[in-house]
């Protein structure tokens, strides 16, 4: 800002200072700069690793660069304060530009209503022609056939208009972008996300956040995985996988049941559950000194004299069938030992005086569900629809006006088009040819 400008700004009354701020906010130039900055941030975010751990950054970029990245929040660029600020500025710019445009459309309408333009001057400047007297009915009929709407301006002048909505195309597109941003904001404030891992038969009442805190995200109901199904292609790649689930309310009653497939989420009370991953998890039953213990992977049994855990599972151990490798502490020293389920001699071992035998291995799938609660989605989807409609109206329709004025010399026809003037010229020329 130059010195004189800042002086005049200081002298101005607060109201007009506000107005001038709004005016500069409404400038397309501001919009272009902000939009460019959003693109630049997106670019940086796509190149620099997002949401990694400190160690990852240090090994990838070195210490100096990491400090720089951290300082500007480039490790989470799309959720950094200044990216949100950019989006907010962009939204304000859109609102301001839209208001200004609505005003100018209204102003233009009023101006035109007061003083209809000089048709002969229009005809000289743009597409137009003079038809012989008596062809008025024919012109009217032809224009009506091309869906022009007629408006009588005076005894001798008529206005034919088409594509009135086209002037609002830009407004619709801009409003739709605002709707998408608003929907995003609603999702950000009122939404929640997480994931749920369920073995077949298990029930969960909360998801786990993917954030580093791993905080629980309550569902507001319980979900039970009744069954998990997977079908494979002949080559062994997964073709389809699905979880059969039940939704249970607070009293434990089943209120909804259904199948969640990839591309086919299940929705209940604003929460959507998506099939996201799956895997195998085994449970191992041991008898420790006559007592039964069921263990999952990495679970430690503390029933006997020494704690132990399963560290490895093999479906086939040297042709002897399935077995598990068990780790235990022998004093200070970690040791491992194989238990083979189908070999009597290898099924039971004595560890530090405890008699331990592998009784059974039950295999099962677990299902990985993605959970999302996003009240902004309907708003975003409405924005999407509006954007497509707006783009179509803006780019592929045009506001066309044709003035028809009769006087002694004949009937003067002249028109104005806001867009695709080439096509409009052709239309007028065709009309002229048809009449002669």
């Amino acid at each position: 800002m130059t010195a004189t400008e800042s002086n005049s700004a200081r002298q101005a009354a607060p109201a007009s200072r506000m107005a001038s701020f709004l005016q500069s906010l409404a400038s397309v130039r501001v919009g272009i700069v902000v939009l460019s900055l959003i693109a630049a941030t997106s670019l940086v975010g796509s190149v620099i690793r997002q949401g990694g751990t400190e160690e990852e950054y240090l090994s990838l970029y070195g210490e100096k660069t990491y400090h720089f990245i951290k300082l500007f929040g480039f490790d989470d660029a799309y959720h950094s304060v200044w990216f949100y600020l950019l989006l907010a500025l962009f939204a304000m710019n859109l609102v301001a530009c839209t208001v200004r445009r609505m005003r100018s459309i209204k102003g233009e309408r009023e101006r035109r209503a007061k003083a209809p333009p000089d048709v002969r001057a229009l005809a000289a400047a743009g597409p137009g022609f003079t038809a012989p007297a008596g062809s008025l009915g024919e012109i009217s009929r032809r224009l009506a056939a091309s869906s022009y709407r007629k408006k009588k301006l005076s005894e001798t002048a008529e206005l034919y208009e088409k594509g009135l909505l086209a002037r609002y195309g830009v407004v619709i597109v801009h409003a739709s972008i605002l709707a998408v941003l608003l929907g995003g904001l609603i999702g950000l404030v009122g939404g929640d996300r997480g994931f749920i891992v369920l073995n077949v038969g298990e029930t969960a009442e909360a998801a786990v956040s993917r954030e580093r805190t791993r905080r629980p995200v309550p569902l507001g109901f319980a979900v039970r995985c009744k069954d998990f199904n997977i079908t494979l292609y002949p080559g062994g790649q997964p073709k389809e996988y699905a979880s059969d689930v039940e939704i249970l309310d607070g009293r434990g009653e089943v209120v909804k049941a259904g199948r969640i497939k990839v591309n086919q989420p299940l929705s209940y009370k604003g929460v959507r559950l998506y099939q996201s991953s799956y895997g195998m998890s085994n449970r191992y039953t041991f008898k420790v000194d006559g007592r039964e213990v069921a263990l999952g992977e990495q679970e430690v049994a503390r029933t006997g004299r020494t704690p132990f855990m399963v560290v490895r599972y093999a479906a086939e151990v040297h042709d002897f069938g399935p077995g598990v490798m068990v780790a235990y502490m022998d004093g200070e020293e970690p040791k491992t030992l194989w238990f083979l389920k189908d070999v009597e001699r290898m099924r039971t071992h004595t560890l530090q005086g405890s008699r331990i035998s592998l009784e059974g291995i039950t295999g099962g799938y677990y299902t990985g569900l993605e959970m999302s609660r996003d009240p902004g989605v309907p708003v975003v989807l409405t924005g999407f629809g509006l954007m497509l409609v707006g783009l179509y109206i803006n780019f592929f329709t045009s506001h066309r006006r044709i003035y028809v004025v009769s006087d002694d010399a004949g009937i003067h026809v002249a028109g104005v088009a806001a867009r695709n003037r080439e096509g409009f010229r052709e239309e007028i020329e065709r009309l002229s040819k048809d009449l002669s």
């Binding site: 975010g45 796509s46 080559g235 389809e240 099939q275 996201s276 989605v377 954007m387």
Partner: protein, 270 residues
Amino acid sequence: MITHDMILGISTILYLALFFLYIVYFAAGKKGILRIAWYCLLVTFAIQTAGIGLRWVESYSLGMGHAPLSNYYESLIFFSWSVSLFVIAMRRRLFPVITFAAATASLALMAYASLFPGIERGIQPLIPALQSNWLHVHVITCFLAYAAFLVSFTCGGLYFFESRGIVPPGRILEDINYRSIIIGFSMLTSGILTGAVWAHYAWGSYWSWDPKETWSLITWIVYALILHLRFTGGWRGKRTALLSIIGFASVVMTYFGVNFFLAGLHSYAT
């Protein structure tokens, strides 16, 4: 037994013939050759369409049954097809040199798809995430956008040559460029939005800042800027020509670059 490979091979050879037909036209300047070239393009396009169709049919006999829009190889062929479709649809407005550039791009894409080592060319099973009707509309709109932007890029590049001989006058290049951009921009918007809706159903989030998504947004912003600079800034001529070249660089990054340099959710497209 006729396979889709053979038919696509024939279409590649025809694209090569088309390339030389245009070269001959530019050298000899006979209008008759242009007519032949046009029919050659139509035949090539029809054969390529048949090849893609047959690949679709063959996938059913392999027990997979999906549209050939699922991996990098298939996307390259579809890109080439989209470019020809766009050129044929724009017929009345285009100039021989633009059709020539588009046909050369189609040829290059076909040749790259069928000759470059390391591209998986077999029909592969469709992973569950891609098993959706959104796949078709998402891929088709995106590649039509890419095709339109390719034509816009051609106009932008030609603008820097003197309008003489085969190079059309600047005003016409400007007009074709603009038309291509509005079609491309509308298609890209549709592509991004259908992708977002699909992601909402498949991944649980309509926007995840996956590199492909991010770059498509960057491309979208670049073209939005071009349109605004044109309408409200009054930018014309060399400046818009340069911008359409930058825009296409962003398209190339979105389509190729992301696959090779940045890993993400769209990584099946490599």
